[in-house]
Symmetry: C2
Amino acid sequence: MTNSTTIITSTHIAEICDEISIDFLMDETIRQLELALQHYDDNNVLVKKRDGYFYTSPVYGMIEWMPVYIQNQGIATKLVGYHPHNPDQKIATIQAVICELDIKTGRLLTLCEGNFATAIRTGAASAIASKYLSYPSSSVLGLIGCGAQAVTQLHAISRVRHIERVLIYDTDKNAQAEFLQKTSVFTRANVIDATLDEIEKESDIICTATSVSVGGGPVFEGYKTRRHVHVNGVGADFKGKFEIPHHLLEQSYVCPDFLPQALEEGECQQLVQDQIGDSLDIVVKSPNDYKRYQNGRTVFDSTGFALEDYVIMKIIKDLAKKFEKGLQVKLDDNFDLPKDPYYFLQRYKKVVI
Amino acid sequence: MTNSTTIITSTHIAEICDEISIDFLMDETIRQLELALQHYDDNNVLVKKRDGYFYTSPVYGMIEWMPVYIQNQGIATKLVGYHPHNPDQKIATIQAVICELDIKTGRLLTLCEGNFATAIRTGAASAIASKYLSYPSSSVLGLIGCGAQAVTQLHAISRVRHIERVLIYDTDKNAQAEFLQKTSVFTRANVIDATLDEIEKESDIICTATSVSVGGGPVFEGYKTRRHVHVNGVGADFKGKFEIPHHLLEQSYVCPDFLPQALEEGECQQLVQDQIGDSLDIVVKSPNDYKRYQNGRTVFDSTGFALEDYVIMKIIKDLAKKFEKGLQVKLDDNFDLPKDPYYFLQRYKKVVI
């Protein structure tokens, strides 16, 4: 429908996944995000550091916007909330919508449910980092934090490394037990409850995705990790919030997703600039230059990059079009009299003054 | 519906206006905006200067976001585009949506069509400024620029001053002719084609609302204005874009809507800080202190204040609720398993890996 906005809900996304399989969606997201990173050039793709509001009343929470502009292509902004007490009310911690705007007219083209999209693209980013920086025969994955993001970390990394065993840990033992139950749907790996100590000692790849409080990190000690361990640090996304021990960062090649943001909100807060390696897009552009790091300790500092949101939004939008899913809504139906905001008065009797 | 998002389109707004009359809506917006300005306190209401992307390809345009946080109440952000060539395609220059987010959970509560809302609240802001700063017996209104914003400038100002004659001018003579036709719906004043010279000499209040290009201003000469003229400068909202002659600003008491933004994007760009008067909220808080300016030249520098968007969104939202208008959409229907983004896989057969 011309001049309409496409609204894509989780129900539409479920119907799309039913057509294509969740593996296809994850593979496609990894592939497209890799392509986008290969072509990323900060002259053509303008990502703004996210900005937002943080508050402690009426609840502890944060609402942010993450805008990205792709030259001659489009603008998207994710509106995203982080409210760690949401699960008590059966609502996901991260609540997001992705808005796509038409650079030709400024119209809202797409409103895409973003909770699922965020989980998928965060998984895909870790998969790409793991593909290029982790030990090639990695088979043991440790998950610290068993919330929504851990699900897609496991799924995504399973698509690029042959994961046989998954060691899981959460301070919330219910979350840990639930995770054990639900993973059978999307992994054939052996998922096992573990201690932090076991995760450190045995994992080839570790993902941290916790709601640790500001000043509460790190979430593991890090003295016993394998010499080739790769860590995807997913949870650090706020000033003062981090998950990885400082000494482990110092021993590792640290690759941020988006440096200006990582320095303010990511694990990179703990480092000075010359302790930080190249960003993920640089690694993706010349993967051979980074192979040597696969045998040592590496860290992917994933703060969440607006380009990732654009990529997943575009994939979901294109699939919605292909399978004729999504709701078409005319937000503004005034296309005859663009200079008259009161055009509709004519249609009604009572409004005449 | 619990956990749903209310989507309010122009059709819903038209239906609401049919219930209440457009005069009621304008009066209510003026009243509520005045109240919000009276209570405005930058400790409790955090308005961020708008930020965005400006580009010249594929068309000349700009997309911005305008966020506001009201302590313990809510967060809204307007996504707004300015594309002056839109009317060639029968699309309004300003395209906007207002997103309201729940500060308790981060969920998108409301998506409100913003083209009409922007026009209404911009009119209401000028009405408030005119109420406190214009000559009390003002009866001649001059409109420079006859686009969408001029419609609500005329309507809003007619609610606070007894306007008998309206002198209109646009460089686009079609726009001017159309304006003459359509105003009969919302004003009883005598609307007359005029030259810029006539507007300057005869108007008690002038509104400038043009799409003048960067560097193209001012839009009138300003040497012949009445000694008590009040000017609402509506169009300046971009670095280098302004409408009012520098010498007229220097002779006038200049009241910005939101100083930090006005200094960067408004008429205040042309001034240094000690040439600028108090902001509109200060005027509204102690109107008696500003009565003495009503007999002299005054300027309201209206760049567009995010608090205005919050007020109009809230009014429309409450009316939509009252009259049961608006579309209820469940963006995310996962309220059982907040920690499982793949919860829906269970519902479908084919997605099982």
